[in-house]
Each structure stands twice: as structure tokens, then as C-alpha cells.
Symmetry: C2
């Protein structure tokens, strides 16, 4: 008897459960896998042996959860400490778990790597395969990461929509706060909403670069002078040239500190300093929690990463993560490959600086070539045709009544 | 020659252009209407004679803009002053405008009423008909207002989605800031996301009632003790018992002051006072700017109000707004009626207190009966079936390796 176990880790993505579906579907095809358990609430559920039977789920249930954002098994932000590895391995041993699949981001790949190493040292046969998942697209050794495209697609549409609102009711600067602490992959994708320099977003900033407040104010002022309106997309993790979040409120957590109201703070500063009406929107977690903007390709690839993980494990691989390689440039296609967990663990893939404009407030077309096949089209809103009516001369005043 | 003119006013709704479509379609059917002009950027476009020809738009253009949020003509928040009425009438006279349609909220109905009165006093024959539009649902003399259901539908889904995220990754209090300054119709609709007391939203507050901070903290604490998580929906305009926005930053504008970061402020207070991890999301204008959650019924009714306005004007009505009457309780149907603009102008329809629970932190089922036919179903996410795996006993320690 060989049991397989899967756990979901960290923040959900809109397609995280498509990977779970891929794992379950593929596990059913391999008689070597006698049972497939899902850990409730991530690695915490492994430690507490809180397992649910996944092979006994009905096809209808699986189909439904595969279209549902938010980790169906529940997730956890628990960071595994050295001394917990022994306990984790004891649980795996007790349940005769021989295949462990860990669906998470770069930190989780580090944990998976540690578990694989600990099992090897202990002489316990265990195949550990990482399934990549992050909205941030910051995992190295893969063309991109499942989850990214759907969240990017949400924010690209949000920018188009708020941009249309800003155009219809001008005289205002809009800051849209985008998910992303350290890397600008998602905020860069808001540029897909723009077909011309008229369209939102008018300014896009990457958290990879410090943003001096004076530069931001100058940039906003210039757009506002030109259009009488302005939409700015900026990451929750954007810092100023002193490495500070512009005076925003900060929350400290296990993953470092994070500004809680960055875009609001910037809107206040624009309002005070430029005397222009400004406001901010923060769709926040909606960007990872909503299913309305799932990219079909993202969903397919998330599922593919799940099924590939199971195939690889059954074929004897361990200590690897499933990565995606783009096969050619003409028509989009990817194939799954295996990469060393150790090379992925705790590394961070930043947004390529060559895809940013020189003024560091916009994204170049090369990024669109990379991202469009993943994110799909952002259809621009079609305007009324401008068929003007000639003005008439008229006079006012009581005598003309 | 009799020209008709339409202007859109105030903040857009997801279905505002369906009303525009209704006006254009119906105008085509009446030979009395020789031309139909659209004013660019609301009443400001009337004053500046910035008109676009609407009968010359192609059916494809009209079909496309009718599915597009954000006023296709452009809108304005300009409040018409007494002395501008003369100029407005002079423009209408110069262009031989005999039908004026004003698509807006209660304030705009006041302006429409003033224009109708001024034309009558001046002896200028003009049919003025108001077409109701507001996401807030605060217009009196109508069962509900086009625009409300689609924005309410957005926020109900946002609450479901963020609720699922909060369930998957518990240990946190989530505040979702909902559009709404004075009335709680939209925030009440977030209750449609909940099928059981387990589901978000766990707490819903109406801006009609002051909310003492201590009560909020007690309520949150109680939910958190019970579930280990909590989702609160609260309006941007919520005030505490002193009539203050809990210390949030305030922007003053023509429509009074508005807290710019209410939910953020509440999350900070919960975090500080209860020592519970808390954050906030503010989808903000997305709620009125996105088309992904348009209610088909809302769209149909917005179009109906547009076409009814034209029919009524051609039949000689003036100084009226199109209202909706719910015809019977068994199967949902509405019919358009005409109500006096004067009765609508500057009135405000608050959320019925009898639809709120006694603890003033939740919404009663009677509201669901009212709202469900408009907003349509909010499909709950289906969970994995709980088929637990029995726990095993195991021992840890070096000697057992």
C-alpha cells in the first residue's frame, strides 16, 4: 500500500483547485497509488493528521471545486521549523505516505525540499514533488506560474473598467492598489488594458524600483495636464526612495512588513500636494479570490502541473518541482519539466527591467508579447462614434424670452 | 422639426447605457422625433452645446455600448444653479429641443424638475422626463432603481469570494468596504452571499444607524471566538455614535464629506484593540464600473425605463420620472409608471429598519425576498465532502528512526 498526500500552502489563487483536480485525476490512473489524502489547512493539517479522502470524492464535487477559488483543502501560512520535520516524517510514516505533493510558492518549495532531504537522511522512501502556485509569478526556473495569469487578468480588467469610469467622469486621479509585495508582474499586466496613451493605466510603477514621491507627483501632474484625468496602478508593496511606504500604515507579519493602505496614502498626498481630486481603490484579495476572470489557459496549466506531478512521482522523481517551458514563439504551447526544488527554494524572480520604459512609469510592448497568451485578450470598451452636432448661436436675457 | 436630447448625470452604473439604448431604440420608432442628441459630460455638455448625434450611431455601436459600464456620453457632477437655467433653456430653444431626457439620481431629478418648470414659465413647449439611475437604490416612488441590482450583485459575489478566501486561510478579520454614503441597500445585499451563519458576511452594518466602536469590537470578537475568522461588510459612509467616521481620513466635496478609508481604519482598530490579524478590501468604483456581474433583469429594466421615457414624452407627459412598480408577488414582473419629478427630487429612500435584525448587525430574510429577483442567485461555493481519514498513533524521537 502506497498512500499519496497533497497539501495546499499560502495564499490561494483563482486556479489552485485545478491543480488539485489534476492530482486526483492522475492518481486514479495509477494503481501504485492506493489512496490519496488531502491535508486540511496546509502543513498544519499534516502535523495534526487532519486528512480528507480525495479518491472518494464524486466527479461532480471535484468538477465544482476545480472552478472554485480559495484552497478547497484549506491553507496555512505556517512556516515549518527544523524541529517539526521529524514530526511530519513520523506522520507520513504512520500513514505509509510514499508520495507527497506540496502546492505552493517559493517558500513552500523550500519546505518541500527540506522534507525530501529529511526523508532521504532517515532512509524513508518518499517521493516529494512541488506543484508551483502563486499569483505573484515570482517562482524561478519556470516560464510562469499557475495562478498568475488569472489574477493578472482580473487586475487588467479592473484597470480597464475603472479607467472607463475615470474617462466618463473626469477631473480626478485614481490610484488602483495592486497585489504584489516585492515583484511587479501583476501590476505590469494592468498595462494590457491600454490600447493608446489615452487609456488607463496612464502610469504603472514596479515595486522593484523605489519611487520618489516627487517623481510620482510630477508624473501624475503631467498626465493630468494632458488628459484632465489619470489612473495610476501601484503595488501594495511600493516603497519610496527612503525605503518607506510613503507614510502608509504598516502591518508586520511573518513575511515582513506590508503597507495596509498604500494607494489611499498616495491619493491623499496627490490631493494635498497637487490640489487635484484623488481617490483610491483596493480590490485586494478579490484579485485572487474571484473566478470571473479565470484565464482558461491558466486553468489548464494549473491542472497540467497537478497531473505532471503525480506522473513524475510515480516514475520515481523526488525533490523536484514541475516547471513550465514555453515551446516556441509562434503559436503558444508549454510543456512541463522537472526542476530541482533547491534551485527554486527561497529564490525570487523579479520583473525584467528591460520590459520597463526609461521613465520607469510604464511597461514596454515586449511584456505584452510574453503575457498576452497567458492572460488572454482584454477587450477595449467601444465608444460612441463622435458625430458632432454643429453649435448654434443664441442670446439670453429677459428681453429674448 | 422636434429634437430630443438626453444627458447622463452623476456616477455611472453598470447598466446606465442600457437606458441610453432604450431611448435611442424608442426614438427611432417615433417620426415626431426628427433627431436625438446626446449631451457630452452631462448637463455641462448641454450648457456648452457639446452634442453627439445618436440616431446616426450604428446598431453595432449601440449594442456594444449598451453592455459597457461607465456613461457612454460622459457624465458630470455639476450642480445646476438657478442662473444657469436660462442658459440651458436658450440652448434647448436654439436647437429646437422639445424632448429632454435626464438620466440620473434624485438630485438630477430635482434639476429636471427645475428645467421643466422654467420652460413652462417661459412659455417654451418642452417635455421633460427623468430616467432613474443610481447604484444606491435611494430614489423614492419606485420599487427599485436601475443600476442597483448589478452593483449589489457585484458586492454579494465579492463577499462570497472573499469569504471563501477567509475560510481557506482563517485567523483573520476581513473588512469589505461597500459603496454607499447614507443608505444601506448595497451593503444589505452582501447578505445574499450567506446560506448559513458560517458563511460571510458574518456582520453587516447599515449606515442608517450609528455604529459605536465598542459594539463593533464586541460583535467581531464574538464571531471570531466562534469561527476563528470573520468577514464584515460596512459602507464607506458608516459613522460612529458621535457621527464621526472612526477617525478615518475625510474628503469634503460638493456632496458633503466622505471617509476615504473607512474599512482600513476599522481593520486597524480591530488589530490594535482585539489583537486579531485584520485587513480590509475596498473594491470601490469597481462595483459600479465592472460588467461581469450585470443582472440581466437590471439591464432589461434599465432599457425599459429608457424606452418608456420616450413613449411618455411623445404622449405629452412632462415633469415626470419613470418609476417601476412590482406587479405581483408570485412571479416577478414590473411595469413602468410615471411619478412626479417634484416628489422624487432631493428625497432619499433609506433601508427599511424592519429588514434589519435586532442586534443591528445582520439582515433579515424579508430583504432576500425583495432583492433576490433583482440580483439573481449568488451560487454558493461547493466544498469538498468531509470524508476523514482516521488518525494513527505514532512515536517520534531519534530511537524510532
Amino acid at each position: 500500500m502506497s498512500v499519496a498526500l497533497i497539501a495546499q500552502s499560502g495564499g490561494p489563487t483563482p486556479v489552485i483547485n485545478a491543480s488539485l483536480l489534476g492530482v486526483v485525476e492522475e492518481a486514479r490512473r495509477h494503481p501504485e497509488i492506493s489512496a490519496l489524502y488531502g491535508a486540511r489547512f496546509g502543513i498544519a493539517g499534516v502535523i495534526s493528521q487532519s486528512f480528507v479522502d480525495l479518491l472518494q470524492q464524486s466527479p461532480e464535487t471535484l468538477a465544482a471545486i476545480a472552478r472554485t477559488p480559495a484552497s478547497a483543502l484549506g491553507s496555512s501560512r505556517l512556516e515549518v521549523k527544523e524541529q517539526q520535520l521529524e514530526q511530519i516524517l513520523a506522520v507520513l510514516r504512520a500513514h505509509e505516505v510514499r508520495y507527497f505533493f506540496y502546492n505552493g510558492g517559493n517558500g513552500s518549495m523550500g519546505t518541500a525540499s527540506q522534507i525530501a532531504a529529511y526523508a532521504r537522511e532517515s532512509g524513508y522512501e518518499l517521493q516529494v514533488i512541488g506543484i508551483p502556485k502563486t499569483i505573484d509569478n515570482d517562482i524561478v526556473e519556470t516560464d510562469h506560474t499557475p495562478g498568475y495569469a488569472s489574477t493578472a487578468r482580473f487586475f487588467a480588467h479592473a484597470t480597464r473598467d475603472i479607467g472607463a469610469d475615470n474617462r466618463a467622469l473626469p477631473g480626478q486621479v485614481e490610484f488602483i492598489e495592486i497585489l504584489g509585495r516585492n515583484v511587479g508582474w501583476i501590476v505590469a499586466a494592468t498595462s494590457l488594458a491600454s490600447q493608446s496613451s489615452d487609456d488607463a493605466p496612464h502610469l504603472v510603477y514596479l515595486p522593484e524600483n523605489p519611487l520618489p514621491l516627487e517623481k510620482l507627483l510630477d508624473d501624475v501632474h503631467e498626465v493630468y495636464r494632458r488628459l484632465g484625468r489619470c489612473v495610476v496602478t501601484v503595488c501594495e508593496g511600493q516603497l519610496d526612495e527612503r525605503g518607506e511606504p510613503f507614510g502608509a500604515d504598516v502591518r508586520s507579519g511573518s513575511r515582513g512588513s506590508l503597507a495596509m493602505n498604500l494607494a489611499h496614502r498616495l491619493a491623499m498626498l496627490v490631493s494635498e500636494r497637487l490640489k487635484i481630486r484623488a481617490r483610491s481603490e483596493k480590490p485586494g484579495l478579490l484579485g485572487r479570490a474571484t473566478s470571473a476572470y479565470i484565464s482558461r489557459r491558466d486553468w489548464d496549466e494549473a491542472r497540467l502541473c497537478g497531473s505532471s506531478a503525480v506522473r513524475s512521482a510515480v516514475n520515481g522523481a523526488s525533490g523536484k518541482m514541475v516547471g513550465l517551458v514555453r515551446e516556441n514563439q509562434r503559436s503558444y504551447a508549454v510543456k512541463p519539466v522537472l526542476v530541482d526544488l533547491e534551485r527554486v527554494a527561497f529564490a525570487e524572480r523579479t520583473f525584467p527591467s528591460e520590459w520597463q520604459n526609461e521613465a520607469k512609469n510604464g511597461i514596454l510592448p515586449a511584456f505584452r508579447q510574453f503575457a498576452s497568451p497567458l492572460i488572454e485578450e482584454v477587450t477595449p470598451f467601444s465608444p460612441l462614434k463622435d458625430i458632432p452636432i454643429p453649435k448654434k448661436t443664441y442670446m439670453t436675457g429677459a428681453k429674448h424670452r
